[in-house]
Subunit: 211 residues, 2 copies
DNA sequence: TTATTTCTACTGGTTTTTAGGTATTTTTAA
DNA sequence: TTAAAAATACCTAAAAACCAGTAGAAATAA
């Protein structure tokens, strides 16, 4: 591979962040910023017709979740390196993005040095986390230890209704089901989340970003 | 007042954002950036010995909540104008900062034009929101409509234990109180939040950022 | 000091949830 | 087409939560 510059795209819904990154990276000899994009749609469209080597990707985007966008990019354009640059500190999110093909995860408050390091590591093919992210990964909090349980469609639906304070009776009437059926789903939800009662259930669901 | 430049400080835990803002504002003829600060403590220390006219303040900071920091700044240095520049879109947060003396609230994805406008408005003494924030304020969601209820110390304590899935019995034992007393607090919590049961209670408390 | 709020605790009764199952039908994926 | 998963529904019984009150003690604010 020649010593061409890395064609780098920045995807972030905040123009201020894009500006900041451009500024921080403009003096890097081996990086060429090809553009800043505020939406997932914009970067996907750009990728269709342009060469990009590296994408600095935020998690919070207006049109699509950064985790899903990462997956989509890696599916369609396998060779593109994706580095996540986000504020989100949830362990589950970090793990998911890596599973979706990201080559690293940095918090936005990481230093330029860390960013540079991660870029070179990512180009080499390894995965690189910023210091704080490493900490997050190594100290799993009690609630995040459990992976977010895989819920069925019905379960998600009923979970939402429970969160609205509805009783099994009411939910049954609403969905034209026996309240006993709702009770079963309730039971299964408690089991899947490994909790004792609705209070803990709703708490856990919130922490797992299910609402 | 002379046509001196506005001495402006940026408070944000993300160096990238600070860089971006500096960059965006460096061409403004009437603004002089005196510094970027990553913590509440840092800006408070700086204010002790330096003149600052305007602070661009983030909500999410490592050491102190931006809302509280705003209040503190306005208490000690009344004349300083505080403009909130944050990602947080919760109505309750916007309202709280304004109540705490902020002169405006912008989302980080607002344009430079909006930022300029809000700064001039703030200097004039009026309060200015970015377009999206105005929308947030005008369309109050069902849950946020109700102000966060004022909870007593005991109630907060018990709410947290309920959220952990503990029964009145258990909580009573833990706090050396009669379970009947806990039931009373439970009842009062439900009443204060205007909800029917714990599911809704925990949901509401989460939406009100009480955990 | 007095008034108010908070914390405490109770009575008595109803509703709802939770825990332990089992079991049939429907849907989905291999 | 066949196995697995999801959705449906039931039983019994205990535990917990919820409702509507009352009321005294303790702490706090005016």
């Amino acid at each position: 591979m020649q010593k061409d510059k890395l064609l780098t795209a920045i995807v972030d819904d905040h123009p201020i962040v894009i500006e900041g990154l451009k500024n921080l990276l403009k003096n890097e000899s081996d990086i060429a910023i090809v553009g800043g994009f505020q939406t997932g749609a914009a970067i996907l469209a750009y990728l269709e017709t342009n060469q990009v080597d590296l994408i600095l990707l935020d998690i919070t985007l207006p049109d699509i979740n950064g985790m899903e966008l990462c997956l989509e990019i890696k599916k369609k354009f396998r060779s593109v390196i994706v580095l996540i640059l986000s504020n989100r500190t949830e362990r589950s999110i970090v793990l998911q993005t890596i599973q979706n093909g990201a080559s690293g995860y940095l918090l936005k408050n990481s230093s330029l040095d860390e960013l540079r390091l991660c870029i070179t590591e990512a180009v080499k093919g390894s995965i690189c986390y910023s210091k704080e992210v490493t900490e997050i990964l190594s100290r799993p909090s009690r609630n995040e230890l459990l992976a977010a349980p895989r819920l069925t469609k019905r379960e998600k639906q009923i979970l939402k209704l429970i969160a609205q304070g509805k009783t099994s009776q009411t939910i049954g009437e609403e969905l034209f089901l026996s309240p006993l059926t709702i009770d079963t789903h309730r039971k299964n939800l408690l089991q899947k989340f490994q909790v004792k009662n609705v209070a803990e259930l709703i708490m856990s669901a919130n922490q797992q970003h299910l609402f």
